[in-house]
Amino acid sequence: MAENPAVSEAFDHEHLADERRSVVILFSGDSGDGMQLTGDQFTNTSAVLGNDVSTFPDFPAEIRAPAGTIPGLSGFQVNFSADELYTAGDSPQVLVAMNPAALKANLSELDSGGILIVNTDAFTRNNLRKAGYDANPLEEENAFGEYELVKVPLTTLTRNALEDIDSLSTQARDKCKNAFALGLVYWMFSRPLENTVRFYQTKFAKMPDVVEANTRALKAGYNYGDTIEAFSGRVRVPSRAVVEPGIYRRITGNEAVVYGLVTAAQKAQLPLFYGSYPITPASPILEGLAGLKNFDVRTFQAEDEIAAMCSIIGASFAGSLSATASSGPGIALKSEAINLAVVMELPMVIINVQRGGPSTGLPTKTEQADLLEVLFGRNGESPIPVVAPATPGECFFYALEACRIAIRHMTPVFLLTDGYIANSSEPWKIPDVDQIEEIKAGNRTDPEGYQPYMREAETLARPWVVPGTPGLEHRVGGLGKQDVTGNVSYDPEDHEHIVKTRAAKVAQIANFISPLQIDGPEEGDLLVLGWGGTYGAIREAVTRCQAKGYSVARGHLRSLNPFPSNLADVLKRYRRVLVPELNMGQLAFLLQAHYLVEVEKLNKVQGRPFQIREIMEKIEALLD
């Protein structure tokens, strides 16, 4: 059914190949080896071919290690499939190791029977030492018994292929070895080259010799596959059979957040003010928005996270849709100012792309350990709605939704994502822009009866009045205040009243959000409840357990504050509740406190996403 303009005739009658429903490939090499780009190309081509895809880039630790070392590795794992996919796969069936370090670091992950492609040219004494090998493992007998080892002198072959491109230095030519490797992998999985060739043409438009070199290396790699017949056979991963019609693209969580924010601003007919300070893994949101100034996006790279937060308070006060993003240390720094936003009751979105903590922690790794912080990390009683998308694609919808909540309820809103969904990608069905509901952001202009903290009955939202509106001049601040008038007040009853009103306002949002959906039996032995980026692994694990006949259902929370109103009820319908989280049990803690149900916990704090099998094992252990 998939019409695919990029699929040339040549590839349509590939029938000789072995067929597989899905395959996971891990590309691993030095940061300089272009692994992200290579993985990206493979993923795009596969997506365009009609596969479902899911990726997991694993960046090197923040400091660039000297080439050849394990800390300097950059990895890109792609799962592509004929069926629907929810994770980038527990472990690869194909490992492309550009140097000894890549082999050393990843070999243990490779599925037994998997294919191992190594660049033999990189196995020099120096590189072996840097990777921590005493001897060259490629020379050891039977070292790779359980794998299909494909030794390729990638550097040499690439050099040979590009011999006559004189305008390029050897270094520049050597850079093309990833194209050679990609070509080889394309051959293995019967993928067309057009897409990538076109990519080279666009990316290096100003350097025709670089286009030529890469294209040639790519083709050489492809042809090399044909020639050597190294593999036990080519593999075919067919297109998905049933896919919702539409136009698709790949999207990462950070990209989706960027699009979601811009869409919200357009739908609210407001400029978007985005104030932020760079930090891994949130910086791409700033960088993405900085490139969209023609949408009246105003990006402000602040001097620090405090200023970033304050700037969006100011911008919101002055009538912009405004947002900021940060991670770990930066979110902590914002907390004082966030509290001002709570008290001023102004709309804005604070994005926390969670990373491994505490403190500087693991900047490039993922974790879900900031949930309690965003709920409670401020002095006093300070309620803030929290939404958390489950997948890269959902980041679009929930960024938009966070803006909608912020404006409708006049409150700062937290959008919680994490390093995993921020950087990994999945196919995204491009929404019909016209179908997206407008955001009503009408600023009040009528002075009649105006009071700064008067409230809408349904939402308890106060009016958004912006400077420039005659007759509505008013002052707001962080001191204790009287409701309705907004006047500074130290009166005991005024204080208690407004504290409770703020709480009620946020609690009331439950009336506006969808109830928790359950996938599986309506009642039963076990409910697996998740939130955020663990979605794919949980979904897959539960589906597989259901297939095995277990009485297990699954729900995924997208609103962490308030919880959906049916949650209490849902929790009661299962004998046990399991919450898998990439932290020490933060959602579990909240559920116990709120609903007094005992929660089983599956916790992982390793800077890495769950594997499907880890969750399956836990489910089975609980139910066997």
Binding site: M1, A2, E3, N4, P5, A47, V48, G50, V243, G246, I247, Y248, R249, R250, Y259, V262, P271, F273, G275, L292, K293, N294, D296, V297, R298, F300, A302, E303, D304, I306, A307, C310, S311, I312, I313, G314, A315, S316, F317, A318, G319, S320, S322, E336, A337, M344, I430, V433, P467, G468, T469, P470, E473, H474, R475, V476, G477, G478, N487, V488
Partner: protein, 339 residues
């Protein structure tokens, strides 16, 4: 500032809010408030286009008393909030009210960065050399040896010079005035309002409760004229009760001379628009007891403002790429169609 000027002429009273003013009796803040309320009507800015943003401190209560838009924010962060306000709506006239602690202690960094970005804000620093609101600890402008609640043996911190810090932060407008010097204060407020870019004004302000003698040397009628040098653009640096003293360069250093001894030609002629900030810096370092304190506009130069440049980029981007279109954006890059 909005192009459209309001027809109705405003008066002082239009700028007085309904909130009771709650400073200590005798506090210098009253005079500054009064001058501000007097100056604003003459600027021709519609009241609804004016925003006062403050941090925390006695001085930072200011916005409550102004019948304009206002934010009484958190300690030290007013410049960052004001930057957001101005970037969201460059038509607004945005004033930052801050204290020596608010601006130079906890808020030092935002102060520095709003100046260097030249955001079109008017920043008024009420310098009383003390933390008033928290009842009398020393501040970053308190003098060495100052005994306060938190420095019973005398402060061991060297004070910052607000004007020097401002100049070094690339400020395009730097001035000094005083609460009690009502006419001068009002002139300077007008000059600040007229400047495009960050206008920084240090206002000597008397905290009658916790630091009442801080500015005696500039208010006592016996000595003040010998201690203050009123700057006038294009005029030589002359001061003194009898205007009989002047400043000239002696090698690399400025020095005080008696006009009876030297020719006026030798004096430094004030040039507030001197591009190289080191002249303004030199003025900012003139202090008692050897030198008079410069009052007035030390520096006023013109440079595009942050908010201008920000919006320019938006306009440019629209010009270059056309007004943003979501559908186009979503479909940029590789896409595929499932039917």
């Amino acid at each position: 500032m909005s192009e459209v000027m309001e027809e109705k002429t405003l008066t002082r009273k239009d700028f007085v809010s309904d909130q009771e003013v709650r400073w200590c009796p005798g506090c210098g803040d009253y005079a500054i408030l009064a001058q501000m309320q007097k100056v604003l009507p003459d600027l021709g800015i519609p009241r609804e286009n004016i925003v006062f943003v403050s941090g925390i401190g006695c001085s930072s209560r200011f916005p409550y008393y102004m019948n304009t838009y206002g934010v009484h924010s958190i300690h030290g962060r007013a410049p960052a909030i004001a930057t957001g306000v101005k970037s969201a709506n460059p038509d607004l006239s945005v004033w930052v009210i801050t204290g020596d602690g608010d601006a130079l202690s906890i808020g030092g960094n935002h102060f520095l960065h709003c100046l260097r970005r030249n955001v079109d804000l008017k920043v008024l620093l009420f310098n009383n050399r003390i933390y008033g609101l928290t009842k009398g600890q020393y501040s970053p402008t308190s003098l060495e040896g100052h005994r306060t609640k938190s420095s019973p043996m005398g402060s061991i911190d060297y004070p910052l010079h607000p004007l020097s810090v401002a100049v070094s932060a690339e400020a395009t407008f730097v001035a000094r005035t005083q609460d009690t010097n009502i006419k001068h204060l009002s002139q300077i407020l007008q000059r600040a309002a007229a400047h495009k870019g960050t206008a920084f004004v240090e206002i000597y302000q008397n905290c009658v409760v916790f630091n009442p003698t801080a500015w005696d040397h500039t208010t006592d009628s016996d000595v003040k004229d010998d201690n203050i040098l009123y700057l006038e653009d294009g005029k030589p640096l002359i001061f003194g009760k009898d205007r009989d003293k002047g400043i000239r360069m002696n090698g690399l250093q400025p020095e005080v001379v008696n006009l009876s001894d030297v020719d006026e030609q030798e004096l430094i002629v004030h040039n507030e628009s001197e591009d190289n900030p080191h002249y303004a810096y030199m003025l900012s370092r003139m202090e008692d007891p050897h030198m008079p304190l410069p009052f007035g506009v030390l520096r006023s130069v013109s440079r595009p403002t942050y908010d201008e440049l920000l919006l320019d980029q938006v306009d440019q981007a629209v010009e270059q790429k056309g007004r943003g279109d979501l559908d186009q954006l979503f479909k940029s890059g590789d896409t595929w169609t499932v039917e």
